[in-house]
Amino acid sequence: MSYMKGLKCRECGKEYPKEALHVCELCFGPLEVSYEYDKIKEVLSRSVIEKRSPNMWRYKELLPLEGDPSVGAQVGFTPLVRAKNLGEALGVKEIYIKNDAVNFPTLSFKDRVVSVAISRARELGFHIVACASTGNLANSVAANAAACGMETYVFIPYDLEKTKIMGTLVYGASVVGIKGTYDEVNRLCSEVAGKYGWAFVNINIRPYYAEGSKTFGYEIAEQLGWKLPRHIVVPMAGGSLITKIWKAFNEFIKLGLVENNNTKVYGAQATGCAPIVNAVKEGSELIRPVRPNTIAKSLAIGNPADGYYSAKVMRESGGWGESVTDEEIIDSMKLLAETEGIFAETAGGVTLGVTRKLIEQGRINRDESIVVSITGNGLKTQEALEGKLNKVTVINARLSEFDDIVKANGKEYALKG
């Protein structure tokens, strides 16, 4: 049973049927899925959800599918870690890591959106799925499409790092590298979507795709014991995730599953690409596009499609936007790894780095609950750490040489004999 009503323009409210549409004909505003909340409230309760398998489909009434998902049945329900060591290091009482670095199958939160997008694309009768991406999304689309036997086209800037391309090619996707600037890649992709009529997960399927992000928020609420955090810090690229976490929290409040905790939502960007944060700081409604220059490539979107709405979420919730430099990103990636054993990608360094700044600025109260959103795995962006970590000490296989290392490290250990 589906509770999806249709699509609705976020700007003018005009309603549309639940098809592969994404832009309002009237005002060009983005379309969003609407649901029959009254009916959902009758069937969905904490106990109903708790009895279901630990994956993102335990909230299926709030996802835009007519039937069961055709791919990604195991996606989601990633750990919410109570990060005591990190909390001590930062001098805060209650901090959690929502860890989508271990999301299945491609180690980023994109598996949530993609499993919804591809399942919906199949319901709508598409046979070819495509996306424009610089990394995580490409990996996820290629893997999930392979798992359900769909043909895949992935469009990337031609000079992307080899490691990122490998993680897409291995699934048998057709990868097209486009010679040109970022703008030109975007322009071409929207033209291809218009001409070939394929299911582009982040173009014509976008309203459905974006809804998958809500499960990140639902899980946090449930894993906190059906409570919302006081503060949540979210990385922003196109700005979709932060708006969907906000939507998820508000839906849970509306359905009576959690109480309103006046959660403040904060957006994190890299200083080298911070169009949304700049707008929040300037108190401006307009997002000025920038040319990205940061090691956090998964966040390097200079003209974010949901920038306006993300800024609005931060304003409405009483949150804020902040950014960090490349050095601060690396430093926070290391801090998270060394205190909690979690290796996040560069975007995670951005989010934790911004969290630290917000705590130092006094915007986040040290005694209140804080959730840090980790959205991707560090194994995917290892090149960012090149030359930034300790060197491996190489010795011959002689005990005396190892003794010298211990001595050089200035440490003393109890010896066995």
């Binding site: 700007e11 994404h22 832009v23 009237l26 005002c27 060009f28 505003g29 424009a132 991406s133 610089t134 999304l137 800037p157 970022y182 703008d183 890649v185 975007n186 322009r187 992709c189 929207s190 033209e191 582009f200 982040n202 173009i203 690229a237 196109g238 409604e285 307009l286 000025r288 596009p289 998964s298 979107i301 200079g302 003209n303 974010p304 499609a305 920038g307």
Partner: protein
């Protein structure tokens, strides 16, 4: 044919009547669907209707004037 684009005017072009000129110079119908203008930047969501080559010329005219022309999806790479 119809083409839908976002125009971003740089500061020095905000006061220029570019849409008027485009309508005069090329055989296209310009139809504003949304706009937001300040003293620093101008954003216009525009529909252009006409023959494909006339639309291309109109878009090139905007680009030559320093206006950024994008598909309505904004940046879709992520």
């Amino acid at each position: 044919m119809k083409k839908r684009v976002y125009l971003t005017y740089p500061k020095d072009q905000v006061k220029e009547p570019l849409l008027y000129h485009v309508g005069k110079k090329f055989n296209v119908v310009t139809n504003i669907r949304q706009a937001s203008v300040s003293d620093k930047i101008g954003l216009v969501a525009l529909e252009l209707e006409g023959e494909a080559d006339e639309i291309d010329k109109a878009i090139q005219y905007f680009i030559d004037k320093g206006v950024k022309v994008e598909p309505i999806e904004l940046d879709i790479i992520e």
